[in-house]
């Protein structure tokens, strides 16, 4: 077959080639158009000339396999793939704007901006991991943002797909990736741990909030290997005003052992979105790196690195975010006990799960609400205290528990929005007791159960344990 010419104006499989948008070491990106399609598109064509780096071919093969399988707002949409027999290419959506690389001149960024970027990237990673892919090359140049705000992750040439053959597996003697962002386990040729991406994001957060790279820029294997035993300088040492909650999060991402990092990207996003709820540990207080004694122990203790992780899907599903919606009114005592029991059983099975307790303070549609009640108590704080009291018998590690008071006119909508924004996996909610109100308004739990995108368990008190007030016949007038 005659190889089609790759130059402006030529047409391949219906795609008309425009100007080159970028010429990189491994591939060239061409702007392309297609009749009847207004989406801006890019055609990625690998450099496979004689003597070219074999890595270019293999990483292109990985993209060819992975990109067409991905979906959702956090990945570029794929429009077509051409194979090596004629002209290898991948055509994908061109994301408008610039990558995070363009921000390097402005570092360090304000802390809240770094956290906001972190939430978006972690949310995108959660979405990617749930599609069975570990990115393995998270860095500023591979991150862009849609106009609607979502982060888009680019470049899957080094990625691992849990359900597809890993072609990178035996291809290279040295680990492949971008030196400053590469996780310790990648240096040991482990390619199937989603927490490697959390490490890379931790590097990015550290860099963007301090202006310095936590492990320098060394590209030698020897230089890169130092991160297997040497911890980074705590950010607070570089910037005295560094918030302890951010240091807690960043250093947790940069833990050498994957097991000590966040178990999922969703849990990382959750902490970045709720700074006041981050459980501060010794990490947040550190002003110095580990002592040499500790470093040497790590250096020469070969067992410190755990073996390859369990299956990705199992890893993700073992660490869900569970939300329990608690009504703090007195009449809800029985159902609250039942909710606690359900939460306890669920959490006992899933030691990496975390529990977000939510209460909704219903606002009147018209009346101006004041945060102080008639006795002058702060209603918000009273409710937070109430939620902690509800959770106390669970005896959860504080790292696993957060409490939130939402204010809304429509409680069900507030719970649904909270679940969506925080990538909640499971909602526990009590059924409202039989009442005129429920008949008139419909139950909150019914709406949550019907409209949530995650699992919902509607909990009722055990039979025969209905509070007396509610079992008595209701007056209908």
């Amino acid at each position: 077959m005659v190889k089609p010419l790759l130059q402006p104006g030529s047409v391949i499989d219906g795609f008309r080639i425009g100007e080159p948008a970028h010429r990189g070491g491994m591939a060239t990106l061409w702007r392309v158009t297609r009749d009847g399609d207004t989406t801006p598109m890019l055609m990625k064509v690998p450099k496979i000339a004689e003597g070219a780096d074999p890595a270019a071919i293999v990483s292109f093969e990985m993209e060819q396999m992975i990109i067409p399988r991905l979906s959702g707002p956090h990945v570029p949409k794929c429009f077509g793939v051409g194979d090596f027999a004629v002209q290898p290419y991948v055509v994908m959506e061109q994301i408008a704007g610039k990558s995070l690389l363009s921000r390097l001149g402005n570092l360090p960024l304000p802390y809240d901006e770094v956290a906001a970027i972190g939430v978006k990237v972690a949310t995108a990673l959660d979405d990617l991991h749930r599609q069975h892919v570990v990115h393995l090359d998270i860095k500023p140049s591979n991150i862009m943002f849609r106009e609607s705000g979502e982060a888009v992750l680019l470049d899957y040439g080094l990625s691992h797909h849990e359900q597809l053959p890993d072609l990178m597996q035996e291809e290279f003697r040295v680990p492949f990736g971008t030196a400053p962002y590469m996780s310790p386990e990648q240096l040991r040729d482990i390619r199937n741990d989603p927490r490697s991406d959390l490490f890379a994001l931790g590097v990015l957060l550290y860099f963007f909030s301090t202006g310095e790279r936590p492990f320098g820029e060394s590209e030698t294997l020897r230089g890169m290997r130092r991160r297997l035993w040497r911890d980074p300088v705590p950010p607070r040492k570089l910037r005295p005003d560094y918030p302890p909650w951010l240091q807690e999060i960043v250093l947790k991402c940069l833990e050498i052992e994957p097991a000590w990092r966040y178990p999922t990207a969703a849990q990382l996003a959750f902490d970045l979105a709720h700074p006041d709820q981050v459980k501060l540990t010794h990490r947040s207080e550190r002003m110095q790196r580990d002592s040499w004694a500790v470093v040497l122990r790590r250096r020469f203790n070969k067992d410190i690195m755990q073996a390859a992780p369990k299956k990705m899907a199992a890893q993700l599903s073992s660490a869900p975010i569970v939300t329990v919606a608690i009504d703090l009114g007195e009449e809800a005592a029985a159902v609250n006990d039942a909710l606690r029991l359900s939460a306890q059983r669920l959490l006992a099975m899933l030691p990496s799960a975390r529990l977000a307790c939510v209460n909704v303070r219903k606002l009147g549609r018209i009346a101006l609400d004041t945060t102080l009640d008639e006795q002058g108590h702060n209603k918000q704080i009273d409710r937070l205290v109430g939620l902690r009291a509800w959770a106390a018998p669970l005896k959860l590690d504080e790292e696993r528990l957060t409490v939130h008071v939402l204010e809304a006119v429509d409680p069900a909508a507030a719970i649904l929005e909270f679940a969506d924004a925080n990538r909640v996996d499971h909602i526990l909610i009590g059924a409202r007791q039989a009442s005129v109100m429920r008949k008139l308004l419909g139950g909150v739990s019914a709406k949550v159960a019907a409209e949530a995108e995650c699992s919902v368990t509607v909990v009722r008190p055990p039979r025969g344990k209905m509070p007396a007030a509610l079992t008595a016949p209701q007056a209908s007038s």
Binding site: E61, Q64, F84, Q163, L164, P165, D166, E170, E171
Partner: protein, 246 residues
Amino acid sequence: MLIALFADIHANRQAFEACLDRAQDQGAQRYVLLGDYVGYGGDPDWVVDRVMDMVDKGAVAVLGNHDSAVSAAREQMNPEAQLAIEWTSGVLDTAQRRFLADLPLTRSEDDRLYVHADASDPKKWIYVQSTLEASRSLSATHEQLSFCGHIHRPALYSLSSTAKMTSFTPQADVHIPLLPGRRWLGVLGSVGQPRDGNPDAAYAMLDTAKRELTYCRVAYDIEAAAARIRSRGLPPVLAERLFRGM
């Protein structure tokens, strides 16, 4: 074209029927049978009849070591397998034995090679259990895709243009693109006696247009298959292992 591939049926009628039903639902247009129709299971006569019928209608079938052992000189086998084969020989009629004896060791069509075990020396019945044997098998053919069975554990190997091998344990129901820049060896799991810890019957579907391979698993009536093994007086261990998939 959608090709359904089956290996190591081993006289398990219930498993084979379940796989054939599912493959038909999936729209299979062509059937490829990768050997070992008999041995271990309680319905060799029914299975061989079915295979003969399929071949009559255009299916491709190659020879397996158990099929060969029915009439040829004794293959090296473990005692239970040996016992099952001796019994099988007695159950099959002349036409069935003749059919098995006449099966080819390999078959090629388009860019595909079908063989029961390793392709470098098919008569030796070498297990393809690592990249070492897979690479040797791939080197023995010019076809881009090879398919074999014999080991009863599904796997997928690839050989790159720079002679690098990859190995992979496929999950069920995932469409795996067989990229044209490499050569591939699909090792099928067993229809009638899975040994990868999953008792479900295994087969695979190849979509030649999309160049995608899908490994499939089907739950079947193991109880009935096991009862058949026991009722025909075969070693009970052959029935028990079906429940464990080992």
